[in-house]
Structure formats: structure tokens, C-alpha cells
Assembly symmetry: C2
Amino acid sequence: MTNPPERFELLTDLYELTMAASYFENGMADPATFSLFVRKYPPDRAYFVAAGLEDFLEYAANFQFSESDLAYLDGTGTFSHDFLHYLKNMRFTGTIRALAEGEIFFKDEPILEVTAPIIESQILETFAINTINLQSMIATKAARCVHAAGGRRLVDFSLRRTQGIDAGLKVARSSYIAGFVATSNVLAGKLYGIPISGTMAHSYISSFGDEIEAFRAFARSFPKKTILLIDTYDTVAGARKATIVGQEMAKEGNKLLGVRLDSGDMTQLSQHVRKILDEASLDDTEIFASSSFDEYKIAKSIKEGAKIDAFGVGTRMGVSADAPYFDIAYKLVQYGDRPIMKLSTGKINLPGKKQLFRRTDDKGRFVEDIIGTADETIEGASPLLELVMQDGKLLMRHPSLEEIRKRFRKNLAALDEKYKALDGAHLYPVKLSARLEALLEAASS
Amino acid sequence: MTNPPERFELLTDLYELTMAASYFENGMADPATFSLFVRKYPPDRAYFVAAGLEDFLEYAANFQFSESDLAYLDGTGTFSHDFLHYLKNMRFTGTIRALAEGEIFFKDEPILEVTAPIIESQILETFAINTINLQSMIATKAARCVHAAGGRRLVDFSLRRTQGIDAGLKVARSSYIAGFVATSNVLAGKLYGIPISGTMAHSYISSFGDEIEAFRAFARSFPKKTILLIDTYDTVAGARKATIVGQEMAKEGNKLLGVRLDSGDMTQLSQHVRKILDEASLDDTEIFASSSFDEYKIAKSIKEGAKIDAFGVGTRMGVSADAPYFDIAYKLVQYGDRPIMKLSTGKINLPGKKQLFRRTDDKGRFVEDIIGTADETIEGASPLLELVMQDGKLLMRHPSLEEIRKRFRKNLAALDEKYKALDGAHLYPVKLSARLEALLEAASS
């Protein structure tokens, strides 16, 4: 995408447009509500983190086919001129209710409901799923890493192996929401204001030939920001050389911030290197580790007593390697006044416009969630879906990344430890309200 | 990415820039060669398909920091004004040798070698890995699906769950290279000229309430392009209704192109539905299936005798679900006249500029590959890395997608069946030339 397209209205499945054409020709323009939810937990997951709403809302608010899009569609020979004329003037004029970014949610819970004339709400399907799937999936994976790290700092190192450019940016944003402290992705730093982090690769060391000369050259270039990569040849020998450079830096009033381990046994090496640093009076020099970390390896290292102050977390988080997609759906739940339920094999959805309620205790800790109908109130439980767009207009400013991050931190603290276990063994209670149960029964019969 | 950035020079790891600054301050400007290769086979894989070169070459040829990029970097307080001035004028002036898109390659083989003053070749690392990893990984996964399908048609349905926008586009392109016949991604159709395909979702059927009325409405809208989705309520009952509509279409001189199955047991249902269609004299109406297909499920369905004419292949291909990243690296192999080899734990790379040679038999079938040095010739074997850029200028026009697709088809046919087994049990022979062996020995000692 070196010449990226400027607009993404055509970033959609063709069937959204063929269905739209048929709705148009059949005069079907009643309001339709679509609901977005995750159908099941991937392995080891027992909660999800909402992310991606801002991108979706911007997409909906600015939806407009370009002349070149319409010319392309015309050239396919599939669509009538009347319908293309309709598309030319089409804007999103509907209502959106959604869960804020940074909120924790669970299986089957509606996190986004879009109500608009059916063509408009249908046509947003592909983008809605694409962007919320990716961002919520990565925020969830990153949250697991943050929880496993128990307060140690995590930095997003995933850019080189994220699935493309857009993923690289969204992974940086989603992992920051979940509590990562920085990213190596410079463009994400520029676009989102996320702190950026990084020092050197093995190629830097190799290009000098002599390891300690490479260390010294880097310390000269960045006397206030040096973290030395010490595993190019032999980690222990590299650590000893780093202490020499660290002591040279100290004499000039600077500090060696850290050393980085990138291969080998992280627990043994970090303990050994910590000892070498301490013996050289470099107690403040931190150990940074980056070697195929994910929540499982972070937890294992800490349990084994690794002396690691901060982790570079890359590919496995950046592609959510053990669960690279969610079983996420955007389903028609109401057309006009009629609640809709699909009944085919194993894919039942909850009918009608809904609201998500959460009961918390007096300390704000989560007790249970209740999926209800949109028009009810449930005593002692707070509704979580907020009205964010009406008549196609945004009703709020987007929260800042820092606000979203803070919201997530509060959510994570309010979720009982057992639901955060890395094996996902305990399921948080989610039930249906009596009104929704009744609607479900009526729709099934 | 609703307001996508226009340039991607900052889509890089911060350390590429800190290293560059240090090379700059230390006067290091010798030509450095970096080599890109995949270090190991993911589970079940025994070959790879090269894709992504065009994007990488365009990136290198147009590399230029914008004023706003430089202002952002300046604001980080990390870089000197002299270095930022250097970056402002920096262009890629080097040489690139690469394997053409659509070629098959194997573990450890260099598929891209970049030679340029070290700052220029270093700074391309992140983008090179990102785009070639994604595109080659998807082309490889898609090739396995194509091979498993044994001539049946495959359509890319993955857009909604690809990892972001850029992935959605590149998955459409990569799967088309590997032999898919179309994509549901309309923007990929517009940008790349790939045929687009798609009909209706369950929401279309549900919105009508009455299934057969939905079928009739769609057939009226698209009398020449109707494929009916028949599993919204009950697949067999849906098939019977589809035959009624198919017969009504036939009376008006049209043809029901197909029906689509999207849930349930694909083998049993396809056999049953085939019988229903045949009994209604709709022998030409095809059965299209889309339900979590990947190479394994395609192979299983065919082996069981499923009556499926074409497959919609979605998420599992689109994220390469069982292998969502490659262990791909871009390593410094030469600086100035000095071949470089990194020796740390388990991550050895082959030193020096290299060439990849392939021996074929008199029918063009692959016999063995030899990794050699860049300046040797090997009797009876063809060099595969082509000089594609010199002095920062492209030496060729990019091949068309159709040419790349044809090249891949020829490659796949030339690879012995045993190496294409879905369990990856047989490894194709790749050896090192005597000259490279000697260099490796010299560099190791």
C-alpha cells in the first residue's frame, strides 16, 4: 500500500452492495438494527477488551462514495444507474449505541448496535467487523500480557511481523490502551502520541566488528538514552563489556539505562547478567528482555525468578498468535418492528435492540452482567451501551488515548482475579433479563 | 485508519533511526548488504510462495521523509539537527536483487538482497519484513488451499476478519497470485483488477421474513448473477425453495447459477442438495460452500465425496490461522568487504552476498536448490535472484498480476507432489555451494 487509497467505502464485501441494490429495487428502507458481538471465547480467554470504536465511528460519520468508486462499480456491469445515483448521495444517517473503548466485555454481549435504513446499516458490516475484531483481539491479548507482567513495563515490538501496515498501527494503539508503556512503531508515535522506544539491532553491533567499540559509539551518540544489546556473540561476555561502558558513562555523568537480552534462557541469563551489573555497581541499569514473549512466557519467566525489569513483546502479541481471529459477528436483530433471530445450525443470535447491564459491588468490582432489551432498566445495574451517534452525527468528542487507557486500568482492577487467569478456566456470569428471555422465546416459537 | 497517513517512511522501528543516527555520527557509510530469508518452516509447511516484492520496491524507490515526519522526529529530542538534515535529503540509492513474485522458495534461501550505504539498507528493514512476511505467508497458505482443491474454484472471503485494512487488500492480491479466482473485497477489485464475487448474507433473507420471497427478489434484481444462500433456516428446505425459484428463472430464460451452503455438515448437505437440484433438472446450478474452510477442511470434504463446485475461503486463510507469522529475518550479511555472520544462540545466518540457484530436469521439474555466493555460476543450475533496482532506480516494469499468477502456476506444477503434501512431511533438497561452505567456515573460525 505504498500508494494507499484515500477512501475505504469500497473496502467491503461485494455482497453488501448487491444486497443494497436489491433492497433499493424492492423499496426496502425500514430501519434495521445490527448487533455486533463475539460468539465464543478463543482458547484460554475469559474476557475481552473493547477497542476500535473511534475508527468505526469516523468511518460511519464520513461515509461517502467517491466518483472513482462509482465509476468502478459502474464498470462491473452489476448495478443499475438508479442505484449508483442513490449510492452517490448516500450518507450514514443512523443511530449508533456502543460500549466505550477500554471497557471489558464478555461472550455474546452486544458491544455495538447500529440502527439505520437497512442499506446504510448493512453496508457498514465489513468495516465494523474488520476494525473491531482486530483492535479488540489485540487489546485482549495485550491485556493478558500486562496482567502476567505484574507491574513490569511492556513495550510493543511487533511492527515487523504484524499482518500489514494498518495492523502495525492498530496493534500499537490497542496494546497501549491495554497498558503497554511504549511502542517501537515511530508512525504510531506520530499519529497517536504514544511514547516510542528502541535502541539497536544485532546488525549495528556486527557492522562495527568489535562489540565494545559498537557499545561505545552508541553511548557517544545517545549518552542519555543508551540500552545495549548484549547477545550478538555471547550474552555473558557482552554483559561484562557493557559494564565497562557503563562505568565509562558514569565517569562522564551519564547512566547506562539498560542492557537487552534477545536470545537464550531468559531466566538464567537475566539472573547472571543482574549479578554482573550489580557487581560493577550498575544497580540502576535495567535488564530489558525481548525473545518471543507472550503472556505465557512472561508469566513463566517471572515465576522462575527472572531478573527482568521490562519486556519487549513482539510478534506473538502483534498477531494474537494463539487466537488470530475472534468468532465475531454483525447480525441483523431487528427490521422495522420485527425482532429477528437466525436459527440455523449452531448460530443463534439474540433478537431485538439490546442493552448491556453490569452489576458491581460497593467497591466497584464486577458482580454480573445482564443482557437486556434496549428499552428496559434493571434495578441496581448500570447500562453500558452509550448513544454515540444520532442522525449520522457524532454526539461526543472521542476520548483521548490516555482516558481510554485509564478506563481500561480501572476495568481490569474491578475484574476478579479468577477471571483473569491465563488458562481462562473461570467464566464470568452473564445472564439474560426476563424481558429478553421472553422475546427470545417468542421469536423461537 | 479512516484518515490514513500518506507516507510510510516512519512506519519503522525506532531503532532503525537511532542506529542510523549513530552510523551518521560515526561516519559509517560503507555499502552494507542485508539478506531476507525465512529461518524455519511453520507446522506442516515445506515450501513458500514469494509475494510482496512490488510493494517493497515502490517503497524503496520513493523513500523520502516528509517535512511533518522530520518535525515529529525533531520533537522527540532524540536526534541532532545535522542528522535530521541528512534524513531530509536521504533517498534510496542502492541495489536490490530479488526473487520474482510467484516463485516458490524454501527455508534459509535468500529471497531479497539489499545493498546500499548502511543507513539506507538498514532503514528499509521493518517495511521489508512486514510486507514480504504478510504477502508470502498468505500466498503460501492460499497455495495450499488451491492444491487441496484439485481444480475446484476458490474465492477469497476473508476481508471481514483479516488483521486490518492493509491485510485485507494484500490477502486478496496474494491469494489471487496463488490461484484463487476472485475476491469478495471490492476495493481489491478496483485497485488490483481482481475479479469480485458475492451475493447475499443471512440478513438479506431474514429481512424479508419469507425465504422464497427473498430468493425471488434477489433473482429479479440480478437475473444473470444469482447464487442463493440456502441455510438461513434449514438447508434442505432452502434447497427445495431454491429449485422452485431456479425453475421460475429458467422459464424467463435465465439460470440459477448456484446455491450456497454456509453451515452444517458440508459433505452430507452438499450431496443431499446436489440430488435435490439434479431432480429439479438444475444440473448446471453449482454448489458453493463457505464454512470455515482451509486446506485441511477442503481436502477432507473432497475425500469424503462432497459435491462442492467452488469454495468461499475466509478467515483461516486470511490470517494464516495455523501459522500467523513466519520466522523471517533481514540480516546484515556484508559490511564493506567483510562478510558478516551472527553466531548467537541458534540464529546463524549465511554470510556474504548470495545467489540462489535451482536445478531442474529436462521437463522443468525442480530437482534441487543450491545457495551460493553472488559472484559464482553453477553449471546446470539457474540463478533466481534478479537485479531489479540499481542506483535506486527500478530496472524493470512490475509484472502484471496475471503474469505473476501464471508464474506461480508453472512453479506449482514443477514441484514434485510429495513436497506439496499438506502435512509437510517431505523436505525439498537445498544445499550450499562449495564456495559458500568455504566462506561459512572462514567466518565461523
